[in-house]
């Protein structure tokens, strides 16, 4: 059943449900389907409609107050299917090392392990339509080649599952239903109702009641909503330990070096990924990463001086050296700026260090529903810088020693403090929003427990990458699907029991 909650007939939501899922992106749709498959009645409430609209997207506007970042209404989508409407389809599970606590990354460690998510791999593969996962290659010099799988074309969860939901007698999907409050019991130990409104200014709203509620609105919106709902819990819902919104993590994405490669690889090897072994991570005390080794089909042409940030080659000594050493006429004459052509580059996407000061807060400005907008204060740390340097130096050294190529580091990588590029210079981030309602067994260290239930609130759960305790380096969607399938099974047992 699909109902336009902005329309006159909302009677479908007057009855009590087993589960109210808020947000119909990959997490919310997966959770609703899993719960319905176990016989639960589900109200699936989506703030947007079937198509992207400027009016809905505008609610996502916010402030970027920390490191330079993409506009908040650009890095996520507010409509049926959520941000699966612009994802690239890259899939890989977290590595076992991602679940471990590491002393050099305080707060790290999950209360669950890969064995808790593995049972959901086959179902996740089927939902996303993935081929079998190739095994990682044997490590060389502390790096092992790893493989991504691709949803091709990337599954748009709204398009793929709208028909099934429409035909379902267990799922009632409400479109244009914006969550504006969660009403708590007087002891604030349970959610008693979820209040929704359309974007019509005169709409007085309606309340959905269920045995349990699951917030699945993304890594920025989940904390924004919880922090906004302060009429009963003054610090915001689930925020007794002042952790909601903290530990915002991305997958920083940067080009680190240009490279010359000795041999032309087969076409299928033009894009390869290398990750550190656990021994490398422990020995170097760094974070996990995926180093992307890209051979470009056409050379990357770089003007001397722009790579190094050094003067163009107008030094007679340099010119003499170049002529003698290389037995060629240098591409640039005195004062000239001839190009250097590289074969490819080394890029990285890495796990971000856990940092409570990297966070989503509330801005002063309010959206059309009267809720305070998000302010993103994204911060990278010295551990992030050390990870980037160690990764590229280690890989470039291995490449040189094996004589497979040579790399020239970009000039921002080595200086201390590191000079991170901004969004005018590089991709910067994957638009992956993680960690803001992190999972921990101890309520003093996380917002949700190992079952994704908000600490201290008996029937409020969170789905999606905001529960990630650490981010790993792999794109988050696959892990989101595994986690929400697991959450669906937990809710089935709890609510049917």
């Amino acid at each position: 059943l699909i109902v336009d909650a902005a329309g006159p007939d909302r009677s479908a939501f007057e009855r009590p449900f087993d589960l109210c899922v808020i947000g119909a992106g990959p997490a919310g749709i997966t959770l609703a389907r899993r719960a319905a498959a176990q016989g639960l009645s589900v109200a699936l409430m989506e703030a947007g409609g079937r198509e992207i609209t400027a009016e809905s997207q505008e609610i996502y506007e916010g402030e970027v107050v920390g490191r330079d970042y993409w506009p908040l209404d650009v890095s996520r989508l507010r409509y049926l299917g959520g941000s699966s409407g612009h994802w690239g389809g890259w899939c890989r599970s977290l590595d076992p090392v991602d679940f471990q606590a590491k002393a050099w990354n305080p707060w790290s460690g999950w209360p669950i392990g890969p064995q808790d998510l593995a049972p959901y791999a086959a179902e996740a593969d089927a939902i996303i339509g993935l081929p079998p996962q190739p095994a990682d290659a044997a490590p060389v010099d502390g790096f092992r080649e790893v493989f991504f799988r691709y949803s091709d074309p990337p599954v748009n969860f709204g398009e793929k599952f709208a028909g099934e939901i429409e035909d379902s007698d267990r799922i009632a999907l409400g479109l244009n239903a914006n969550l504006v409050d969660l009403r708590l019991s007087s002891d604030m130990g349970e959610v008693r109702g979820a209040v929704f409104k359309s974007l019509d200014y005169w709409d007085r709203g309606f309340t959905v009641r269920a045995k349990a509620y699951a917030l699945c609105c993304g890594g920025i919106e989940n904390p924004r909503l919880l922090l906004n709902f302060a009429s009963q819990a003054t610090a915001g819902i689930g925020n007794g330990a002042d952790l909601v919104g903290r530990f915002f993590a991305e997958h920083p994405h940067y080009s680190l070096a240009e490279a010359l490669f000795r041999a032309d690889p087969p076409a299928e090897q033009e894009l390869r990924f290398f990750s550190p072994t656990e021994e490398f991570i422990d020995a170097e005390q760094v974070l996990n990463f995926g180093l992307r080794h890209e051979r470009m089909p056409v050379p990357i042409v770089v003007q001397p001086g722009t790579v190094a940030g050094e003067p163009a080659c107008d030094d007679p000594f340099i010119l003499r050296l170049a002529e003698k050493v290389a037995e060629v006429t240098p591409a640039c004459g005195p004062g000239g700026t001839g190009p250097i052509d590289f074969d490819g580059r080394l890029r990285i996407a890495h796990e971000q260090a856990l940092n409570p000061d990297s966070r989503v807060r509330l801005a002063e400005g309010r959206d059309a529903l009267g809720l305070r907008r998000a302010a993103l204060d994204w911060r990278l740390s010295e551990l992030d810088a050390r990870t980037v340097r160690t990764a590229v130096l280690g890989y470039a050294r291995s490449m040189a020693e094996r004589d497979t190529g040579r790399a020239r580091l970009r000039d921002w990588v080595l200086p201390d403090p590191i000079a991170w590029p901004d969004t005018t210079q590089d991709e910067v981030a994957g638009k992956h929003h993680m960690g803001t309602t992190r999972m921990a067994a101890d309520p003093a260290r996380g917002v949700v427990d190992a079952d994704c239930r908000v600490h201290g609130i008996g029937n409020l759960y969170i789905g999606g990458s905001s529960v990630f305790a650490t981010s790993g380096h792999a794109n988050p969607t696959y892990t989101i699907i595994q986690l929400t399938l697991r959450l669906g099974d937990r809710l089935g047992k709890v609510l049917k029991g």
């Binding site: 070096a257 001086g305 340099i318 290389a326 640039c332 040579r406 790399a407 020239r408 580091l409």
Partner: protein, 51 residues
């Protein structure tokens, strides 16, 4: 003669552009010279040919 191999010749041509005289950042491998990550053999070859 290693320089007859096009790869190293091309590498050395690039290294020898404005990049070579920069300060070595690391004294132990990986050796970073002017941003390039090079082996001792690379540096030896460049030095020998620069005589």
């Amino acid at each position: 003669m290693i320089l007859r191999r096009g790869f190293l010749k091309r590498l050395l041509a690039l290294v020898a552009l404005p990049l070579l005289p920069a300060t070595a950042v690391a004294a132990t491998p990986p050796r970073v010279v002017g941003g390039w990550v090079l082996t001792d053999r690379d540096l030896t070859e460049i030095a020998r040919l620069d005589r």
